[in-house]
């Protein structure tokens, strides 16, 4: 129960950061002006083992809520559901150990290298699906691909920062 509250509070903070800070930033990179870093999907990455169907449905509902805010029906929901479905599989591949040992996919638990690989796969899946669904065409594909790559890099940096802030205790290296 305490955990549930913790994750809900993290979600609210992430969401407020997304809407009031990240959405106000305009980054110019060459011609591309549609860089849009995401952070709210981080909550899907770090949720511990809960029944899979609750996990999928809550990812779907969260995605729908975000879609209502951005007026992009279905786009984020679809990406969220895909991410939720595929996360455990990616995590097991990256962890390479006993599955039952995985409790929290945080940097303090996985180590920097494995955590980066894990977030990279998850982020690029999320970005690819949401970007292609939003654009919904294959014309000017190179711009779309650039958008995906740059957004992935930006989002990964953010995920790393947030994870270090929330779950890494500097003096001992333990989970807080």
């Amino acid at each position: 129960m305490r955990d549930l509250f913790k994750y809900i509070i993290i979600l609210i903070i992430l969401f407020l950061c997304q809407v009031f800070v990240l959405d106000k930033i305009n980054i110019n990179f060459y011609l591309l002006n549609i860089i849009h870093p995401f952070i709210y999907f981080y909550i899907i990455l770090i949720v511990p083992n809960i029944p899979k169907w609750i996990y999928l449905i809550s990812a779907f509902l969260l995605g729908i809520f975000i879609d209502l805010v951005y007026s992009t029906p279905g786009v984020n929901a679809s990406a969220m559901v895909c991410l939720a479905y595929i996360r455990d599989w990616v995590l097991y591949r990256v962890f390479e150990g006993d599955r039952n040992e995985i409790a929290y996919p945080h940097i303090a638990f996985l180590g920097l290298r494995k955590f980066l690989i894990f977030t990279f796969y998850c982020t690029i899946i999320y970005q690819t699906i949401s970007t292609f669904l939003a654009v919904f065409s294959f014309s000017s594909i190179n711009y779309t691909l650039w958008t995906i790559i740059l957004n992935t890099i930006m989002s990964m940096i953010l995920v790393l920062i947030v994870d270090l802030m929330l779950f890494y205790n500097n003096s001992t290296g333990r989970q807080s």
Binding site: D23, I34, G63, S78
Partner: protein
């Protein structure tokens, strides 16, 4: 039967996943229908309340810019006052007070939310049905068009930005008189694309061409500035795509004007009368 149940128990996650994905894809493809517009009326209300709190804090930071834009706006309105009137020269013998009637009215409004960094951008305005704003009205800033309203609740309105894949309006090149349509290719928020219909007229290198709204639209008045272009390319079918540099800085909008065409419903009604069947 047992096999079927066993199948469901074994693959229930896959089935759930596919089911949710089908819902999502349906929403993506079908997002312009009426129910969706209704759902987003509610969501624009929620967004609006959140954003109006935030805007009340950050408003003071840009007062100077707002003043400048208002000054420009007033100058433009003074010089173009007649262009928003409809000239009624149809005289049928009875006494007519005036030959000029109001056709477009302008409603000044503040922006609550505006994104430019997505493929499909939306704007939220701090006014709705109470202030006379409804769907399918034009929205302009002081120096150019910025969108068309999509749905409105009592106090808030959601606008399809110029920077949206479904935004398309008719435009005219003032120097040559070519008609085309304005779209956005999703790359740079300050550059729009003007697609001119196949034409024989030649454009001269090194000339600055001005793009304005054409008279064919029932949403925008004639001769509103959209932007300028110097570069274009000729496609295989003789149509022309031009890079129009928008007059509006979409990243920095604070106020806007919603345009209400008083005669729109009348015009629509006439246009929608079905053609008589051939005998």
């Amino acid at each position: 039967m047992d096999n079927l149940i066993a199948f469901f128990i074994r693959f229930y996650l896959v089935i759930l996943f596919i089911f949710l994905q089908v819902i999502c894809i349906y929403l993506v493809i079908d997002y312009n229908n009426y129910q969706n517009a209704k759902a987003f009326e509610i969501s624009s209300g929620v967004q609006g309340k959140l954003m109006s709190k935030f805007e009340s804090i950050t408003d003071y930071l840009s007062l100077k810019k707002v003043n400048d834009s208002l000054l420009n706006e007033n100058a433009r309105l003074h010089s173009a006052l007649l262009s928003s009137k409809m000239i009624d020269t149809f005289y049928k013998g009875q006494q007519v007070d005036s030959i000029i009637k109001q056709k477009f009215t302008f409603i000044g409004i503040r922006l609550l939310k505006n994104t430019v960094n997505q493929r499909n951008n939306y704007i939220t305005l701090s006014g709705g049905k109470k202030h006379g704003i409804d769907k399918d009205m034009g929205v302009i800033a002081s120096s150019g068009i910025i969108g068309i309203t999509r749905a409105s609740s009592d106090n808030f309105t959601s606008v399809i930005s110029v920077l949206h894949k479904d935004f398309k309006i008719s435009a005219i090149v003032t120097e040559t008189g070519n008609i085309g349509s304005i779209i956005w290719n999703g790359i740079n928020p300050n550059v729009l694309t003007l697609e001119i219909n196949p034409t024989q007229s030649k454009f001269k290198e090194g000339t600055l061409y001005h793009v304005m709204t054409s008279a064919y639209s029932d949403i925008f008045p004639e001769n509103l500035p959209i932007g300028t272009f110097t570069k274009w390319k000729v496609n295989a079918d003789n149509s022309i795509s031009a890079e129009v540099h928008s007059g509006v800085d979409m990243t920095n909008l604070k106020t806007a004007y919603v345009i209400n065409n008083i005669y729109k419903n009348e015009q629509k009604a006439v246009e929608l009368i079905p053609k008589p069947k051939a005998k």
